[in-house]
């Protein structure tokens, strides 16, 4: 007999009221926290891969509690490395570095962490509520977004280069073009042609974006610290204010949190976007829409932390919408989660919505409760971990290099990644030194592959008639308007700067970030 959704939601909560289940959730939360704070690379896929053979022998809800506890909290606690060390966290927290690290340097590390935890917790809850609300009606949305629509969305994303390049549009375009070029390395899926591989097996699948991002942001920070002795050693983070200032910031910017959370939820729901773009999309949206954002983003604006963190944490809810309600995964972690559900005898998708809605609601509850616990743990541990920023540079630099190299090696356990991380680290250092915006390059790298794929599929399936699809036209209008508004704002700011005979005040997020060194 089918039960009502209300009864299922109640039963889903009652399912959790066992000591063993709460213990499993707390264990998962601890694993997730450790994984988030540990060097990049020890990610959730590996945790899930190791945990799966163990937890599928447990009672279903107990196993689900551990897995969901781990994955939901890992995003919330992912802001430590970007804010305290200037190193991008796992994918989804990379944009946080742009404003989080400058805040840390200005002595607002605690405030940034507080904003991150609060925004992350709120994002997680918004993602969870969306999942709960989507249970009856998610399917049609997913079938509306085909390759043509996704291509336009990617194009829209690429237009963010205009913002990220700041006052150096030519350098921004060069950096973005370099990113697009890097995205072509490896075997092209559409033709099977090897591009820039030179018969080197390492290059067959292209170069890992996470390695490049780690190198481009991690190594320059460490090198700066070592070569200039600036940064945490010379300017110890005063740790003024408190975590609660950041929490208040997030509450004050509640509308930004809501908007960016829905960006995250949407990225989670739409197949193929993934966590690598969520923070950048949210950051770009915030930089474009926040009052004065174009002047302050990249200089340590707390909104530059709130936006990516809320989106990143809300994305998990969106991921679960497709995973649980449609039965297909959005990444390795959700793929493994589906494997676990199958082992317990649940078939994710419409059948599970019909037959086991109480289990879906248990997952919803676990996601929400773990998010709250993760936020509290973040606040509890932040004070201890923030002290890391006071450590002398002579101690910090080697640790940063160890973290970076360990992170790079742990992605694929391939020694060649160490060479790549050093090479791209040096490139990042010189890009930063000569004012080439690194985020524009990363954006080109991330979106290049997706854009090529979606454009190819659109043309192969529909010829050029895809341009006449109503959703494509609608999205094109929105993205063009967004791009033109950005350009207009930029021209006005330039004119104002000239009139005031002051240094150009309009700069994009990345230009600020580049200038800070």
């Amino acid at each position: 007999m089918e039960i009502s959704l209300f009864s299922a939601a109640a039963q889903g909560f009652l399912n959790l009221l066992e000591f063993q289940i709460l213990l499993a959730m707390l264990l998962g939360v601890s694993i997730g926290t450790f994984t988030a704070v540990a060097p990049q690379g020890l990610g959730m896929p590996l945790v899930y891969a190791i945990a799966l053979p163990i937890v599928i022998k447990w009672k279903p809800i107990t196993g689900i509690a551990l897995l969901i506890g781990a994955s939901s909290v890992s995003a919330i606690c992912a802001a430590y490395l970007p804010i305290l060390f200037g190193i991008p966290g796992g994918s989804g927290s990379q944009a946080t570095v742009l404003d989080g690290y400058p805040m840390g340097k200005k002595g607002e590390g605690r405030r940034a962490l507080g904003a991150s935890f609060m925004a992350g917790g709120m994002g997680c809850l918004i993602g969870t509520f969306t999942l709960a609300a989507a249970i009856p009606a998610a399917r049609p949305l997913i079938y509306l977004m085909g390759s043509p629509e996704l291509f336009v969305v990617m194009l829209w994303g690429l237009s963010m280069v205009a913002v990220l390049a700041g006052r150096r549009p030519v350098k921004g375009l060069i950096a973005a073009a370099f990113g697009l070029l890097l995205a072509t390395v490896g075997q092209q899926a559409q033709s099977g042609v090897m591009r820039f591989v030179f018969d080197i097996p390492y290059l067959l699948d292209g170069i890992s974006i996470s390695i490049i991002a780690l190198a481009m942001f991690g190594i320059p920070s460490a090198l700066d610290l070592a070569l200039t002795k600036l940064g945490v050693e010379q300017q110890p983070v005063p740790l003024k204010g408190s975590l609660f200032d950041g929490a208040k910031d997030a509450l004050r910017e509640w509308w930004l949190v809501v908007r960016c959370s829905f960006v995250g939820v949407w990225v989670g729901i739409v197949p193929g976007l993934g966590s690598q773009v969520v923070d950048w999309l949210a950051y770009g949206h915030a930089a474009q829409t926040c009052k004065g954002g174009r002047q302050t983003f990249g200089q340590g604006d707390v909104r530059g932390v709130i936006a990516p963190e809320s989106a990143n944490d809300a994305k998990d809810g969106g991921d679960l919408v497709t995973t649980l309600l449609l039965g297909f995964p959005q990444g390795v972690v959700t793929a493994l989660f589906i494997v676990a559900l199958l082992a317990w005898g649940y078939l994710p998708g419409p059948e599970m919505v019909k037959k086991n809605p109480e289990i879906i609601y248990s997952i919803v509850w676990l996601q929400g409760i773990s998010g709250i616990i993760g936020t509290l743990i973040g606040f509890g541990l932040a004070a201890q971990l923030a002290k890391l920023a006071e450590v002398r540079y002579s101690f910090m630099v080697p640790i940063m290099f160890i973290f970076i190299l360990m992170g790079a090696f742990s992605v694929n356990r391939d020694p060649a990644d160490l060479i790549v991380v050093v090479a791209f680290g040096l490139l990042g250092y010189f890009m930063r030194r000569y004012g080439y915006p690194r985020p524009a390059m990363i954006l080109g790298l991330v979106l290049g592959d997706l854009m090529e794929k979606y454009l190819y599929r659109s043309v192969a399936s529909y010829g050029f008639t895809w341009l006449s699809r109503p959703a494509v036209i609608g999205l094109l209008i929105i993205s063009t308007a967004s791009f033109l508004l950005t350009l207009r704002g930029r021209m006005k700011a330039n004119a104002r700067a000239k009139a005031e005979a002051a240094p150009a005040s309009f700069t994009g997020a990345m230009a600020r970030s580049e200038d800070e060194s």
């Binding site: 891969a49 390759s147 559409q190 067959l204 039965g327 390795v332 599929r457």
Partner: protein
């Protein structure tokens, strides 16, 4: 006591000591080599995925059946569809019996087809078994397209067939199906992951796909709600009927010549290797044999079947070490079939059969 009186005792003592030395040596030499050792499994894939789970389901039983019960650690060397890991196992991994690779079946096809990045020799690399090998591939169209039977399918022009990438198993077989059935003016749309492709089929972005029978666990409503039409099946190995698709015609029945049959045979043998375990070529024979024997016993253990089904979500269809070696040995390698296969796996126009 005189020395002569001691002589018998000395003789007995010396004899006993000699016996102890003689028999003690074999006792020490019988200490299993793998006792207290750690075997590294080098995966040609990222952690997670079904390939990883298949291997992880085998490991507890391999540990049980290798004398000395060694420990296992997993290393992941993703890249080039397993080529990176296969290259490493072939030429760089220490051949001491403590390094074992596990790669996807594409490693076999890439070597035969002479693909870029292959630095291993298929004939020198020991292939020592796979936890799965049997499967079925179907040619599926969306019901909305209106191709309810083979006659309509063959009469239709411009069918859009979706797949992961050029050279992928589903892409290559889709083209083989199209050529064998004589479909008109087919188009190939690639660049999908499996879930994306399934959604694209239902959304109308593509009209047809080729898929192995695991789709049924993913999309049971396709069958229950009759959202798709099934047209043709390829059984691997040949003759193994899937209960759900036993009424579908086997692709071989449409083969008009020996050339086509060789092509189909090559595809089957490529796919039959499943996810094989491999060893560095210089691995000592006795240690290689211990691992092979461990795999043989593991695959035959009834508990393995239960555990595998629980972990992976499907029944195991193991390929024993000797069968795996034979499958590699028997691969057709005549240049004409290889060239033909490469044309089907490539992006060029569809060859005629």
């Amino acid at each position: 006591m005189k020395i002569d009186e001691l002589r018998p005792w000395l003789t007995v003592s010396a004899s006993l000591y000699t016996l102890i030395v003689i028999f003690a040596t074999p006792v020490y030499s019988q200490t299993p080599f793998y006792q207290g050792k750690t075997i590294t499994i080098i995966h040609g894939r990222a952690p997670g995925g079904s390939g990883d789970l298949r291997v992880r389901a085998v490991i507890p039983f391999l540990q049980k059946y290798i004398p000395g019960n060694p420990s296992f650690v997993h290393e992941y060397m993703d890249g080039g569809g397993g080529r990176k890991a296969a290259n490493f196992v072939f030429s760089q991994a220490r051949a001491d019996g403590l390094n074992v690779g596990n790669v996807g079946g594409g490693v076999v096809a890439n070597a035969i087809l002479g693909e870029q990045g292959v630095q291993y020799d298929l004939d020198k690399m020991p292939f020592i078994g796979s936890p799965y090998s049997a499967t079925h591939y179907m040619f599926v169209t969306r019901r909305d397209v209106g191709l309810r039977n083979l006659e309509k399918l063959r009469g239709y022009s411009g069918l859009r067939i979706g797949a992961q990438s050029v050279g992928h198993t589903n892409y290559t077989l889709g083209r083989i199906f199209a050529a064998v059935l004589g479909l008109k003016d087919t188009k190939y749309v690639t660049g999908y992951s499996i879930p994306e492709r399934d959604v694209a089929l239902m959304r109308g972005e593509i009209d047809a796909i080729t898929n192995s029978d695991d789709f049924y666990a993913r999309n049971p409503e396709w069958v229950q709600k009759e959202l798709v039409d099934f047209h043709i099946v390829m059984e691997i190995p040949k003759g193994e009927k899937h209960p759900l698709f036993s009424k579908l015609p086997e692709v071989d029945t449409f083969a008009k010549n020996e050339r086509t049959r060789k092509l189909l045979s090559m595809f089957r043998l490529f796919r039959l290797s499943g996810s094989p375990f491999i060893l560095p070529p210089a691995t000592p024979k006795d240690r290689a044999e211990i691992i092979k024997e461990g795999l043989r016993k593991a695959f035959k253990d009834p508990d393995f079947v239960k555990e595998y089904k629980k972990v992976v979500g499907e029944d195991p269809t193991p390929l024993l070490p000797d069968e795996n070696e034979r499958a590699i040995r028997d691969l057709p390698r005549d240049p004409e079939t290889v060239e033909l296969f490469k044309k089907f796996a490539g992006a060029g126009p569809l060859p005629t059969l």
